[in-house]
């Protein structure tokens, strides 16, 4: 059986409970989101189909697919959706569940986000550090192809070798992130 029941919750209820997933039941399957999607050719299941699959209870298939992680968050689907569903946010709700439950998507995007989250903790993002962390944890050979690009940016002083100086706010940011994570772990949030 594809339909997974966790407690009393079906998958569609689970998505509807996420921020951004609220309006999933209002979808009329018109396909404007898929037709508008900038990166649809890379999606295993286009956004309209993802919504249909969620409603059909195909939890495992949705969360393990690469699809959601190909979203570049350009909001074309969202501004065009005739039902005001905000498909980009709905797709992010799917990404959030997959990330929390440790699904390993075939695209390395999730690792990029983790590196980015670490970079954010410093208060301001240091791109070189973020990129190095990302490539070291995903694919070093793939990262080597970006060396000429990094060098041409460095030559112009556009890619600092050292992290930015710490601002007072970096401590506050770390405290806020810790608090949010604690709230989410406690189940009080989301």
């Amino acid at each position: 059986m594809e339909t997974t029941i966790r407690g009393a919750k079906t998958f569609v209820d689970e998505v509807a409970a996420e921020p951004g997933g609220e309006k999933i039941n209002e979808c009329i399957q018109c396909g404007v989101c898929s037709g508008s999607c900038t990166t649809v050719e890379w999606w295993e299941h286009p956004p309209r189909k993802i919504i249909a699959m969620i409603r059909a209870g195909k939890r495992e298939q949705v969360l393990s697919s690469t699809s959601a992680f190909n979203c570049v968050t350009c909001y074309l689907c969202t501004v065009r959706c005739p039902r005001g569903i905000k498909p980009a946010q709905l797709i992010h709700a799917v990404e959030a569940i997959a990330e929390r439950e440790g699904y390993k998507p075939k695209t390395p995007t999730i690792k990029l986000f983790r590196s980015l989250r670490n970079a954010m903790r410093q208060g301001r993002v240091w791109e070189l550090g973020m990129a190095l962390r990302f490539y070291l944890t995903s694919n070093i050979l793939y990262g080597l192809k970006d060396v000429p690009l990094a060098l041409s940016l460095m030559r112009r002083g556009l890619m600092p070798i050292f992290p930015p100086k710490k601002v007072k706010g970096s401590r506050e940011v770390a405290a806020i992130m810790d608090k949010v994570e604690a709230m989410q772990k406690a189940g009080g949030a989301q």
């Binding site: 570049v72 350009c74 954010m120 192809k145 556009l158 940011v173 806020i176 992130m177 608090k179």
Partner: protein, 292 residues
């Protein structure tokens, strides 16, 4: 003089340096004073795809700081702009997330009342300064220059005040500088943003489509919005992408404030033009020489 609280965003201090230089130079000419928001931090931008609450909380910290200044918050980077507006909308409309964000910010004694006004520079140029004032500052008319204005996605989607399918403000600015605006359908298409790290081939194809579209429609240069992600993506990567003719793209990528600076008669060094990777002097030389 018009005063704003300025939120540069992380990338403006690194890859966005040329844009920042031109924003500073052009602001002086237009009597805009940008007071950098003290102690600003990362807006939380691409984080919303895997953790919306975290992203909103980080953005709201900055909104709360800006609120205290009582000035409009001016944000050049499209990603920061969209994320800060998004956080403000969620904070004011979604009670559940608002309560959670309040709880998280209380840990560091920060409170957001919900009154910050987040604005982008095109909005300020058009609505606070005005096209006639911009035109009156022009020293070197950019006559004959065919400018394709690229907006990217987040400046006008989902909340931006300009049209979300075919925004026009940058074209209007280019026209007031004496240039000829070139329409191309992908003007608000996404450049792929930060996915460049994780999905290089996908982003290269998106960039190819944009550059090819500009070429087909006869643009001599591409004027980007002030987003450092769009700018660097297009400026630094085109050497790696083959055009339809099988050769490298050689499209000059110029931030719209750099273009304004050239028309205002400012020097290339003031506008950061020497840091652009794409061949910008080729098309700008005739206009830069007028003054020298």
């Amino acid at each position: 003089m018009k005063y704003y609280t300025y939120y540069p965003g992380c990338a403006m201090e690194t890859t966005g340096k040329p844009i920042q230089a031109s924003i500073d130079a052009v602001s002086k000419v237009l009597n805009i004073e940008l007071k950098e928001l003290p102690d600003w931090t990362c807006c939380g931008c691409p984080g919303e795809s895997i953790n919306e609450l975290m992203s909103v909380a980080l953005a709201t910290r900055n909104l709360a700081l800006a609120e205290k200044t009582g000035l409009d918050m001016l944000v050049p980077c499209s990603c920061c702009y969209r994320n800060l507006v998004n956080a403000h909308v969620i904070f004011t409309e979604d009670r559940r997330i608002r309560d959670q964000v309040k709880e998280a910010l209380a840990v560091v004694n920060i409170e957001y009342k919900g009154t910050a006004r987040v604005r982008n520079l095109m909005d300020v140029f058009i609505n606070d300064i005005g096209l006639d004032v911009i035109a009156s500052k022009v020293q070197n008319k950019l006559s004959g220059l065919k400018v394709a204005s690229y907006y990217g996605c987040h400046q006008s989607r989902p909340y931006g005040p300009d049209d979300f399918e075919f925004p026009e403000w940058q074209d209007q600015i280019a026209e007031s500088l004496g240039a000829t605006p070139v329409f191309f359908p992908l003007k608000a298409q996404c450049c792929g943003g930060a996915q460049l790290f994780s999905q290089r081939d996908m982003v290269h194809k998106l960039l190819y489509k944009i550059l090819d579209d500009v070429e087909r429609h006869g643009g001599q240069c591409l004027a980007t919005t002030l987003c450092p992600l769009c700018f660097t993506n297009l400026d630094a990567n085109q050497g790696r992408i083959k055009s339809r003719a099988g050769t490298r793209f050689e499209m000059p990528i110029i931030a719209v404030t750099q273009l304004m600076g050239v028309a205002f008669g400012l020097k290339p060094a003031e506008l950061g033009l020497k840091k652009n990777i794409s061949p910008v002097t080729k098309v700008l030389d005739p206009y830069l020489k007028v003054r020298a």
